[in-house]
Amino acid sequence: MHVPTSAAFKQNAHAAIDDPGLQKALARSGPSFIARRAAAAAALPEFEELRNTARDIKNHTLAHLDFYLETYAANVEKAGGTVHWCADAEAAREAVLKICQAAGARTVTKGKSMISEEIAVNDHLEKHGITPVETDLGEYIIQLRHELPSHIIAPAFHLNLEDWEEAFRKSHTDLPADRVFAERRDILTEARTKLRARFLAADVGITGANFLIAETGTSVIVTNEGNGDLTQTLPRVHIVLASIEKVVPTLEDCTSLLRVLARSATGQDMSVYTTFSTGPRRDADLDGPAEYHVVLVDNGRSAMIGTEFQDMLRCIRCAACMNHCPVYGAVGGHAYGWVYPGPMGSVLTPALIGVDQAGLLPNASTFCGKCESVCPVKIPLPGLMRHWREREFERHLTPATQRRNLGLWAWFARRPSLYRMATRAAAFALGVAGRKRGRFARMPFAGGWTQGRDLPAPEGDTFFARYAQAQRDGTLR
């Protein structure tokens, strides 16, 4: 079971900053995600407008979620599939186990699914003598290393080539010990061979779903490797694990969301395999599963509806927010302590495991706003994190020093002339002291803060002073 360590975010973050392997991985991969998304968005003139379309489709669906879920379930059943409604993680784990046991399953292959991590279904299957095998390359090594994914679309984001080699040598002991891993391709080839045998032997295949389509009772998965398709095509039983907010009305609505998904995620125009599954194998079909089950999971989503956090249910799990987040870029995904990292995790995790457990996450933000500016469904992530901070403050979960300092700040803020004088003096002093280098690598009383970052030196006067000056000069635009 994944015991959340979100409450230890500070310690986790310190350890992450001091981890040279992780820092190497973050420095290597961070900038490329940003550049690829920017290029893909720039190549499609309608991209910005499509973000509005995507947001509106999701909002429309959430406003009628009960109707679309019932329609979806009825259409799954019409196509010969079975829907298992599960209120929480425990019910979902049990539903999956029961289907596997009824199928007499010994091995279960799995496509990448975040909800599967959330409900920790692998541990549950193992406990009952069924072997789950992750088949997405990133998830595969995470499973070998007994870790959680550190990123929602690149689970092994935190690993370097040497980590792959080490895990493969340790796990694939049937292969010659003197084999050479000269390049990434050698890793990929070994994984492909190992997993091919698993695909063919599996009794049940479990996938997630990027979307569920009400109109047709269809589940949709998006992959680049093709592992999800082998998982859901070859075994006798296919289980779809999906949370309730994945439903959209029609194929056309799904198509509009697909247009922003891959571009926001990997910077591809379209992922390699976008697959629409509707029920089990038809009579004369030569392949496909004989049974098709959907395990439909609530696990805290319905409680977000009608609250300020409803907007979070628009999330299509593209990871653009974490790819652009300076905090994620500094500490990686594991520091967040549970399944969902980055800005979307900072909003979702407190809703799913409690603000008392995960209250530090919405505080781990500079509110730079980059996440909201790239979100394909325009979730106001910083605003939602602020809501969590308020709830935390209201419930007196904030540390005493922080409450004291906030009180001090509030005392100044209520005395504008004093506040302006003090900030002006501070800006002037810091500006003079930092004129040469433009930043401070060390500050008295803030050693912990400057250990991982530099404080930029103020370039001149405060905003208030500049604003007043511009008003006087008539240069205000």
């Binding site: 109707f67 056309e252 697959t275 629409f276």
Partner: protein, 223 residues
Amino acid sequence: MSREAILTAIRRGLRRGALPADQAAMLRGRLAQHPRQLIPARSRLPHPQQVELFVRNVEKEFGTVARVASAAEVPVAVADYLAAQNLPSELVMAPHSELQAIPWAERPMLSIRQGRAEATDAVAVQHAFAGIAETGTLMFPSAPERPTTLNVLADTAIAVLRTSRLVGAYEEAWDLLRAELGGMPRNVMLVTGPSRSADIEQTLELGAHGPRRLHVVLVDDAG
């Protein structure tokens, strides 16, 4: 029961009971009409340019394309491709009437089995239902004559597509599917390029679990 509990919780959040009949009817109308949303202008082109856009996009996604003037030239195109890639001339082919009508016997070197793909098949020839120019995407709805395993199991995937089946945007392909198949088949795959993974150090490598190569034989029948 979980179903009722979940639906009740949703309705409580939405501050209403079950949807009133008139609103439900409106939503059912929207489902029946499945209105198109914003469609990018890039694929709104005369058909010959759509074909060119399709080819450019397949190649951008690391696929390859061979254009032939008629179905009779498909066997040569397939044999030449396999020879150039140093691949065996044994293949498994979709039992689709359009593929069966191709004069394969004129290339006796090609050994062809019809059916679904098995783990031992190295090369698969599939019938493409439609091509989508917008992103260089192939559409494969499952059917007895178009088994899903042919899309993903073999190392080399070859798709035969007629240019008259090439459309601009995904929405046009959905319309074709609805009009010709009447409903959703068990499986519809949209395929854009060969299999790949960037899970190792976020660096792209082709050939993860699906085909390492995707080759499109484009038969010119649009006139």
